[in-house]
């Protein structure tokens, strides 16, 4: 299995989402490992802006030539923005998984605690290694 790229600035969920804090907002996408496992992505179903989400909640769907997978909110908050470019060009998820963000969440006061439960890049790499 080829080694997968990581974004050193992100934290990772065991369900393969990455989350990166940008100016106080949590930006969420899927990891290089996840896009590689999925194969060519053909469809995404994104949440509504303004929707309230809880960490652990299934709030989006990504579908590839192979399978449909749920995207789970890694942190709680309100959907601030969605990347609707993914609807017309989902292939950028395969090409640049750490640029192809799905949605941004305005976090709650629980952010630090929720982030502490996620994996560091090193921990996620080890997790993927073990799972693979």
């Amino acid at each position: 299995m080829a080694s997968h790229k990581l974004d050193a600035a992100a934290k990772y969920a065991k369900s393969h989402e990455w989350v990166r804090l940008e100016e106080g907002v949590a930006v969420v996408g899927i990891s290089d490992f996840a896009q590689d496992e999925l194969s060519d992505v053909v469809y995404v179903d994104l949440p509504e802006v303004g929707e309230t989400v809880t960490a652990g909640q299934e709030i989006a769907t990504v579908e590839s030539v192979k399978a449909a997978e749920d995207i789970i909110a890694p942190v709680s908050g309100v959907i601030a923005e969605v990347n609707s470019a993914l609807e017309s060009t989902p292939e950028i998820i395969n090409q640049r998984p750490y640029d192809a963000w799905f949605f941004k969440i305005t976090p709650t006061a629980a952010l630090d605690e929720e982030l502490s439960r996620l994996l560091s890049p090193e921990e996620y790499a080890a997790f993927v290694e073990e799972a693979g």
């Binding site: 194969s39 053909v42 179903d45 769907t61 030539v65």
Partner: protein, 362 residues
Amino acid sequence: MARTQLYQTHLDLGGRMVEFAGWELPVQYPAGPTAEHHAVRNAAGLFDISHMGQIEVQGPDTLDFLQLVQVRDLSRLATHQAAYSLLLYADGGIVDDIFVYHLTDRWLIVVNAANRSKDFAWLQAQSLDFDVTLHDRSDETAMLALQGPRAAAILQTLVTDNLDDMPARTARHVTLTGTEVLIGRTGYTGEDGFELYLPATAAQTIWNCLLDAGRPFGLLPCGLAARDSLRFEACMPLYGHEITADINPLEARLGWTIAWDKEFIGRNALLKTKLEQPTRLLVGFEMVDRAVPREHYPIAVAGQIVGHVTTGMKSPTLDRFLGLGYVPREHAAVGTSLEIIVRGQPKAARIVKRPFYTPRTK
């Protein structure tokens, strides 16, 4: 699990191996299913389909035997011609879909990998009253598919025969890297192309040779995912999906294969279906709502579940979400509104004309 002669070659090319019909085969190579699909539509693709079965029939009664066990009228099939056909059970259900080749001294039946033993046993059982000999040649035969608008140009760089005068659904023997190979101008992609039957021992050499000859033309090695999306766009059925033992050819819109004016196993049951009309029909549909239809998803009309999806995906060529599935005859007209139940949610779809992609065979 079985492996073809090219197993290690697929790994070396970065093929991602999966189980299919008891075989370990590449579902895709590093280029990915979408790129492989486009390569076949625009240039060429090379597939290892050695999992397919080859059954030879020989003997004085061969034509009589074949007329009984399959639905086409093969008395009109000249030497070196090939035809798509079906084997049926007495109740009209489909044993398998096949390709029949009329060769000089024998006939060749090409069968699906999953059905190979079943087909051979079934053919043996029907052959008792005929002076014929059946041989399962699958183990010693490798099968490759070279498909796409540049397939003929690629193969032409390797053979002395002029391929321009070789029509679709004909076969001939050629010499490829010193090996005698049977080639048919046939395929399962909706493009011009060839299927090659060769000794398993020559598979490695010929595969590499075709790959090297094809690279300058834009050829890619292609996996099962591209094979499925290509045949799907051309609305070619896949056994176990659009056709099964529980589906008859009229339901599957394969009535065009049937030679009604000869005797064949399953004819009486089919005549009855023809007279009463099939209760369900295979349809092609396009999603109106954004959603990916997938196999086994229920199909509803006005809130009532009436059928299911047999194959569905985002069509790489047409860039639309399309599907095939069965619905009752009264809901099978082009333009009919359907709902596809996608992960619990009804999504609007409408019946469209098949095939989605018009084959461009020679």
